[in-house]
């Protein structure tokens, strides 16, 4: 995926792009974390890859992944 910010005369368009990218990033994170956990990654590995604490990644994704039927490794 290439990202090339177009120069827009409209600052509203640039700000809306920021909002949309944040939303897409959240969706991509959900998908990538689920894939990693289904592949047997541990919480510390996922946290390190994302550059956040394992507590943060666990808090954000654990319930969702359990609900999705992902078998989670111990923290």
């Amino acid at each position: 995926m290439s990202v090339e910010v177009q120069h827009s005369e409209d600052p509203g368009a640039a700000l809306a792009a920021v909002t949309a990218l944040r939303r897409l990033a959240d969706q991509l994170e959900d998908s990538a974390v689920e894939r990693a956990m289904r592949s047997g990654w541990s919480w510390p590995q996922v946290a390190e890859a994302l550059g956040v604490t394992r507590q943060a990644v666990h808090k954000k994704h654990a319930k969702r992944l359990v609900a999705a039927g992902v078998a989670l490794r111990r923290r």
Binding site: M1, S2, V3, E4, V5, Q6, S8, G12, A13, A14, L15, A16, A17, T19, A20, L21, R23, L24, D26, Q27, L28, D30, S31, A32, K63, R64, L65, A67, A68
Partner: protein, 160 residues
């Protein structure tokens, strides 16, 4: 605030939480309130939306188009993304209001104590000058100012 409007607002906020969850959002925003209003069987708000050619599916389509267009400004296309995303899958339903939803509620219902009506909530959403809702309406070819004026006129008629 009367019991009727309180029940209506609660029903809209509850449904907006479902819309936010569907999108994978962590807070309820103005666009989720607008989608929720489109699903609530309240005659005056339905009349205002349908007169502008808007319904639930139309609003959803406009919001999705706005999202894709905004990503396009950053050179990102959902079509070329190789990541599979399932927005909202398994996320808890948000109950917190985000900044845009709070503003819409304040604008629409804030200063009127007893005499608020469902149309006031719609008005509060439509009076946003910037953000996702105005951009989505523009994308759908809806004249936001005209729609806002029509809602104000509808409110005035009911006041007479």
């Amino acid at each position: 605030m009367s019991t009727t409007i309180r029940r209506y607002v609660q029903a809209v906020v509850d449904q907006a939480g479902i819309e936010a969850q569907r999108e994978g959002a962590t807070t309820i925003e103005a666009q989720h309130l607008l989608l929720a209003i489109a699903t609530e069987p309240e005659a005056n708000t339905q009349q205002a939306l349908s007169a502008a050619g808007l319904d639930y599916e139309g609003i959803r389509t406009a919001l999705q188009r706005e999202f894709e267009q905004s990503l396009g400004v950053a050179g990102v296309s959902l079509a070329t993304s190789d990541m599979t995303t399932r927005p909202g899958a398994g996320h808890a339903r948000p109950t917190k209001l985000g900044a845009s939803a709070k503003l819409a509620l304040e604008r629409g219902l804030g200063k009127r104590r007893g005499e608020s009506r469902p149309l006031h909530l719609l008005l509060g959403i439509l009076q946003a000058e910037k953000g996702t809702v105005p951009r989505a309406l523009e994308t759908a070819g809806i004249n936001q100012s005209e729609l806002t004026m029509r809602v104000i006129e509808q409110l005035t008629v009911h006041d007479d």
